[in-house]
């Protein structure tokens, strides 16, 4: 049998999966195995498939995804730490026909930006809030986040999070689901192909609801931080399934009435 070469394989008819046209060729700044990159790809696919490039304004956070504007080919604003929802509020109110999303980590959205998160959701701003919950401050080197699990070690909780001193991890999706302004609140993941497909479906719903001006869509992605957690990518995903998912159960928390 003749040997199969690389060129035999990379034929268009064999193509099962490709990089979204809206992902740029810039090299991602994320650590190997980090969920941020996958979440970007899923979001870019949805923006592409829904033809949203021309009317999308994204707001990036301060956190590992601060440079997200280098990776997805849409207009971007870079907010101050925690303030993305405030920027998005103004963008959407001033240009109601645009598609507006924020992308924030757990320190950004659930600590320093808690007030902006709650009030943006409470006003029911017609935006998508995408929330990457990795239970840690990735960018600054693995400090405790508001979402760090009880007993979980971080550089500022070196003996494990003591809830009697530091409070319990905050479940932001459950909190915003209680506010009448949110129309769709769901918790997803990107560690498996199935998870990616579900997140994609959730994002498409969020696009539809935003088009229908139904209120705030809040999508949490429970994610990993191999570097901050001091684990290999594989270990981090296993740890996430065993510890994060039981505390932050995946699935819809609030869906709009049809």
């Amino acid at each position: 049998m003749a040997e199969i070469t690389f060129n035999d394989i990379i034929k268009p008819e064999n193509l099962a999966y490709k990089k979204s046209r809206l992902m740029t060729d810039n090299i991602l700044s994320y650590c190997p195995g980090c969920g941020h990159g996958t979440a970007h790809q899923v979001l870019a696919e949805v923006l592409e498939e829904e033809n949203l490039q021309e009317r999308t304004i994204g707001i990036t956070p301060v956190g590992c995804s601060v440079l997200m504007y280098n990776y997805i080919d849409v207009d971007f604003q870079e907010a101050a730490h925690g303030r993305a929802p405030a920027l998005a509020t103004a963008v959407k109110r001033l240009m109601p026909d645009k598609f507006v999303f924020t992308y924030q980590g757990d320190g950004d959205l659930a600590a320093i930006g808690t007030a902006e998160t709650i009030h943006t959701c409470n006003r029911g701003e017609n935006i998508l809030m995408l929330f990457i919950n990795n239970g840690i401050y990735g960018m600054t080197g693995g400090q405790m986040a508001p979402t760090t699990l009880p007993g979980m070690k971080s550089s500022t909780s070196p003996y494990g999070r003591d809830v009697s001193m530091m409070g319990s991890p905050i479940k932001m999706a459950d909190i915003v689901a209680m506010l009448p302004g949110t129309c769709y609140v769901t918790r997803q993941s990107v560690n498996t192909a199935g998870g990616v497909r579900k997140l994609k479906r959730a994002l498409k719903k969020a696009v539809q609801y935003q088009n229908e001006k139904r209120g705030t869509c809040f999508i949490e992605v429970v994610s990993n931080c191999p570097s901050g957690w001091k684990m290999t990518p594989v270990e981090s995903n296993k740890w996430m399934e065993e510890h994060m998912f039981p505390f932050y159960p995946l699935g819809d928390i609030k869906v709009p009435a049809e």
Partner: protein, 355 residues
């Protein structure tokens, strides 16, 4: 449409002028002595007429970041507050300056520090003119001395903000915000529909994506950017200095005062002249850029300058820097919401003259 004459509070004049200037959005949070701006706009409901968005934010932090978002879209957006609220806005202001965005910020100053008082003061001069937040930057600062100027500086402020892509602050105080005067209002302008080339309005196939950010992790590029900002401020110093002079031609002593203090000094000047003291007044209208050159020129022909401010002495430092030791400079001020009387100012001029 004709100009219209009305009797209004300074705060109300700002609000009405904003609508008429074709502002796209106002984002605010209540605080005395400037809440009338938000109240007036809510009652006027310009969303229904011009389409201007008016929103009460959850905090000053949120309000200024809404301004940041709106300004990033190339929209004419503004906020207002008073001293404690302006302190909270500093985060957003430095990001806006760092991203080179136009916007208008109104500070109706009250006495401080801390919660201080709700009475008028001029104690936020340093914060307004030297940057206020972190990093090397300046706002272009306009200091109104009447209700008319409160109104006029809204449109002027927007024009300058867009010309330089830089935040502009109207530095007022509780007296100008609260007092009523007649004011000529300009006719309604249409809101601009122009899409600015740098604005984030959605990326068409015809251009690269627009990114609004104040971040550059490369020190060389960041320094290059800092130099660009400095060049912009130098250009403002060349082209945008505004001030007004009263009886400086033959003056031996000059009051330097802005806003409410300038009005008091106008009266003090008359009292001084009546007693044969050759006093004059220079009223800076732009506090940044500061009328350095003119003060330096005047320093050559006068015997002294008295900076009168409702503060412990802030602008006086710029007066000193301007005159480079060519003439004597001193300061007279009241604080904590106290407004000096013209008689008090005159007495202080006299003791300044005695030396």
């Amino acid at each position: 449409m004709e100009k219209e004459l009305r009797l209004m509070k300074g705060n109300e004049a700002v609000a009405e002028a904003a609508i008429r200037a074709g502002a796209d959005g106002y984002f605010g949070y209540p605080i005395t002595p400037q809440s009338e701006i938000l109240e007036y706009l809510m009652e006027a409901n310009p969303q229904a007429t011009t389409g201007m968005v008016v929103l009460q934010a959850e905090s000053e932090v949120a309000a200024i970041n809404m301004v940041y978002g709106g300004a990033s879209c190339g929209k004419k957006v503004m906020t207002s507050s008073s001293s404690p609220g302006i302190s909270l806005k500093q985060e957003g202001i430095t990001y806006i300056a760092g991203a080179e965005l136009p916007c208008l910020i109104v500070n109706v100053v009250r006495g401080g520090p801390g919660l201080g008082t709700i009475q008028p003061a001029q104690s936020d001069y340093f914060q307004a003119t030297k940057g206020g937040g972190h990093g090397d930057y300046h706002l272009l600062v306009l200091a109104p001395a009447s209700v008319q100027e409160m109104a006029d500086f809204v449109e002027l402020g927007f024009d300058l903000a867009f010309k330089y892509r830089n935040p502009v602050m109207i530095l007022s105080d509780g007296a100008i915000g609260q007092m009523m005067e007649k004011v000529w209002l300009k006719p309604q302008k249409k809101r601009s529909e122009e899409i600015l080339p740098w604005a984030t309005t959605g990326k068409p196939a015809t251009r690269e994506r627009n990114i609004i950010t104040s971040l550059d992790l490369d020190p060389g590029r960041q320094e290059h950017f800092n130099l660009k900002l400095i060049a912009k401020y130098r250009e403002m110093e060349e082209k945008e200095v505004r001030f007004e002079e009263f009886m400086t031609d033959d003056a031996e002593y000059i009051f330097v005062a802005y806003g409410t203090s300038a009005r008091l000094c106008q009266k003090a000047l008359q009292l001084a002249r009546a007693e044969g003291i050759k006093a004059g007044l220079l009223r800076p209208i732009t506090l940044f850029p500061f009328p350095k050159k003119r003060l330096n020129e005047l320093a050559a022909s006068v015997k002294g300058m008295l900076a009168v401010e409702m503060s412990a002495g802030q602008m006086v430092e710029d007066v000193m820097l301007s005159v480079c030791g060519k003439t004597r400079v001193s300061h007279y001020g009241r604080m904590g919401g106290m407004i000096p009387t013209p008689e008090e100012v005159l007495e202080n001029l006299k003791s300044f003259i005695k030396g």
